[in-house]
Amino acid sequence: MGVDFNNTQTIWMQLVDWVFEQILTAAWKPGDKAKSVRELAVMFEVNPNTVMRSYDYLQNKEIILNKRGIGFFVTDDAVEKIKSLRKKQFMEEEVPAFIKNLKLLDIDVQEIVDMVKNN
């Protein structure tokens, strides 16, 4: 189901990533109603408070908004917001780890550049 709780990332952050995925793949479109806290808790078998923590984060980042009494909705610029967040994370966490591996495995950068160009 796209969420593997055995990995080292926290459950609430994995749920955030899952919501990112729903929005980036247009499974949830801007203006759509997001799944309720209870629906997600049941779906992923997690404590509703954990889902609430993910939704609080998504609200803070203006990816979803809470319409009182109705539920959560995907914001109009959710896709741009997610891309900029993911880019920041990619540059700050994934790229340094990638560079570390290049050095560790003695891989020439040119080899990677060629791979990217040919894709």
């Binding site: 709780f5 990995n7 926290t10 209870r38 808790a41 049941v42 992923f44 997690v46 404590n47 408070n49």
Partner: protein, 278 residues
């Protein structure tokens, strides 16, 4: 919602099980009660439910003293024991006999929960069912009582793999702000995503009672110093992925709580862990 203050208790006077145990449990959470064999988890649950009376101290449930066993309190508390008592009755007759004790019992919910747990309400006598089937009927019943306090002692023992998943879904859907759920378990892998409060019972008192949020704020769960090499190490274990450590979270890094590692860290460094969460 449940408050234990300075509880003393022993089955044998010369060997007290609880010397000075205090614990407060709030609604809106699912507590995981952890402790070694013989630590007294089941006894503690019985004291909360008014089934055992403490030698000293006070137990309050829903603002009433538990040992008084007032009806207003008991109709809002359900205790699913590990050693289940199942009478020689068919499921329907069992519900007819026991549901009236719980004013908020919901028959439609019961039917739905039975269905979710793949149980047939038309089964024969309950005492003839397998251990796992009995347990599932009582889980469905327990949830359908809609009591404010729901206590479960090792609820996943005897459940098959699909039933464990169904159980977690039912619990996730039943949890709400007004309800207190306490689950005692050794099967932490079955329930780690479900509980949001961890209570560890050790050597006659509560070693820890904290939210999973607070725990990951104060402790870092790390492999091979990937997240941080700083902070006092409380527990180390060799794993195939590398050296697993539980350490003080000095740099405020978010990590994934591992209940087994937390338990081991707490048991080994009792005082340090207790002080960290004071």
């Amino acid at each position: 919602m449940v408050q234990l203050e300075n509880i003393q208790f022993g089955y044998v006077k010369s060997r007290p099980l609880f010397k000075d145990l205090s614990l407060t449990l709030e609604p809106g959470h699912i507590y995981g009660l952890l402790g070694k064999n013989g630590a007294g988890k089941t006894t503690l649950l019985k004291i909360m439910s008014g089934l055992r009376f403490p030698d000293g101290g006070t137990v309050t449930i829903l603002k009433e003293s538990a040992p008084l066993r007032k009806a207003e309190g008991l109709q809002n508390l359900y205790f699913l024991q590990e050693e289940m008592y199942v009478p020689h009755l068919k499921v329907d007759d069992f519900v007819k006999a026991y549901a009236p004790f719980y004013p908020n019992f919901n028959h439609e919910q019961f039917a739905e929960y039975m269905h979710e747990l793949e149980l047939d309400q038309e089964t024969g006598y309950m005492d003839k069912l397998s251990h796992g089937q009995k347990k599932k009927v009582l889980i469905a019943f327990a949830l359908a009582t809609n009591t404010k306090i729901l206590i479960m002692d090792e609820p996943t023992n005897g459940l098959d793999i699909p039933s464990k998943s169904a159980f977690r879904k039912l619990m996730a859907s039943a949890a709400d702000e007004s309800r207190l759920v306490i689950i005692s378990t050794h099967q932490v892998r079955d329930l780690h995503s479900l509980i949001d409060m961890v209570a560890i019972l050790d050597n006659g008192h509560m070693l820890l009672n904290a939210s999973t949020y607070e725990i990951t704020e104060k402790l870092l769960f790390d492999v091979e110093n990937t997240k941080s090499s700083e902070g006092k190490v409380f527990y180390t274990e060799e794993t195939p992925r590398g050296n697993y450590q539980v350490k003080e979270n000095v740099n405020h890094i978010d990590s994934s709580l591992d209940l087994e590692m937390l338990f081991n860290a707490a048991i080994i460094n009792k005082n340090e862990i207790a002080n960290l969460f004071k």
